[in-house]
Symmetry: C2
Amino acid sequence: MRSLDTLTFEDRGSPAQRERRRRILEAATALAAKGGFEQMQMRAVAEHADVALGTLYRYFPSKIHLLVSVLAQQFEVAGENLARKAVPGDTAADRVMFVLGRTTQTLQREPNLTEALTRAFMFADASVAQEIDVVAAHVRRMLLLAMREPGTPVDVPEPTEEEVAITKVIGDVWLASLVQWVTGRASAHDVATSLDVAVRLLLREPRPLA
Amino acid sequence: MRSLDTLTFEDRGSPAQRERRRRILEAATALAAKGGFEQMQMRAVAEHADVALGTLYRYFPSKIHLLVSVLAQQFEVAGENLARKAVPGDTAADRVMFVLGRTTQTLQREPNLTEALTRAFMFADASVAQEIDVVAAHVRRMLLLAMREPGTPVDVPEPTEEEVAITKVIGDVWLASLVQWVTGRASAHDVATSLDVAVRLLLREPRPLA
DNA sequence: CCCGAGACTGAAACGTGTTCTCATTATGCA
DNA sequence: TGCATAATGAGAACACGTTTCAGTCTCGGG
């Protein structure tokens, strides 16, 4: 079965097909925002998007694939917004915290949607690797952008191993915190605190060679 | 050794009930070890444990509850083994890495079981908070034990905020790495590397390394 | 314009987690 | 002991993700 959903593949197909895909993602987003993971049901998505259930499954081979694709779409928008103007903050830690705080706030404004997307992301297995990579790349890029001096291109010069390692750790902490938040095991404040601690510990200055 | 509250809960009921509970956990563990999350099916657990399906659900209100309870049990055993002798290593980082490496290795020796337990843990919602807390407490305790000088009791003196924050971050990274491993998005080596990086960054000695 | 290959639809069907029903058995108490 | 209550067993039933299938529609090549 052909997978249709990475960015490069998104533009494939006839206009009618792109339109169907758009309607499906829109319906999935709306339903997830309304009732979270459990209430975003495949039959309901198909109905709202006005496609047959079989067609929905041709476009997205599982509920998890669909939700992770929604997540990728959300991060794409967030990444674009972020790239529009320079990240404020004097130190890397400040800038990273700004980005994390802003994105986290956006996510928390739609708690049901975030719950659905986070759980899907966590439950995804190897078959969703392609979609997962899209999301991971967005996150990595956002964090690297923030760690660099404002105005510096994100990939020139190549990020150091240390920088990549730090973005990985921060991404992990962010994800784990979000999971705790969506499952009601941590408050929004707890999430902010965890991130603050992690960023302070990881990006404290001056950074001795590690 | 009854160090944690679960045991008080676990010991409730008649001998026949405790025996049923034991058989259920045993069957769940065996089935998960054999076929992972998907193949640990509730009907099969009930059959292997020789209880009716309804009874299984009276003891564990969902598959997730059951698997997280198995996880708590596993960590209890691991914690006991760990407490038996002092953690080797000259620095906190060394000792934490030792504990993480050893536990991770144990988990990776039963990949299907670990997959099942990790996914259940990640998928758990607020209704599983009690079981989740047991697991989290075990992890926190293990890491604090390793960070302290060998022989120091883990709770005397009270862990500092910084110590607790660090254990939280390390726990998050550990969990995120495990998720990536069980979903085939990272190799065992990748997990070790992630943990090593995180621990080095978080627990680097105050003075630049000698 | 027509044809054939896919794509789409509508509906049924399947698998597994979960719930429900009701008869039977175990338990604790007067 | 005998009874009220709760726990258990056996199995049907239900919900939702997923698959399948027969028929219909669409579209690009001849």
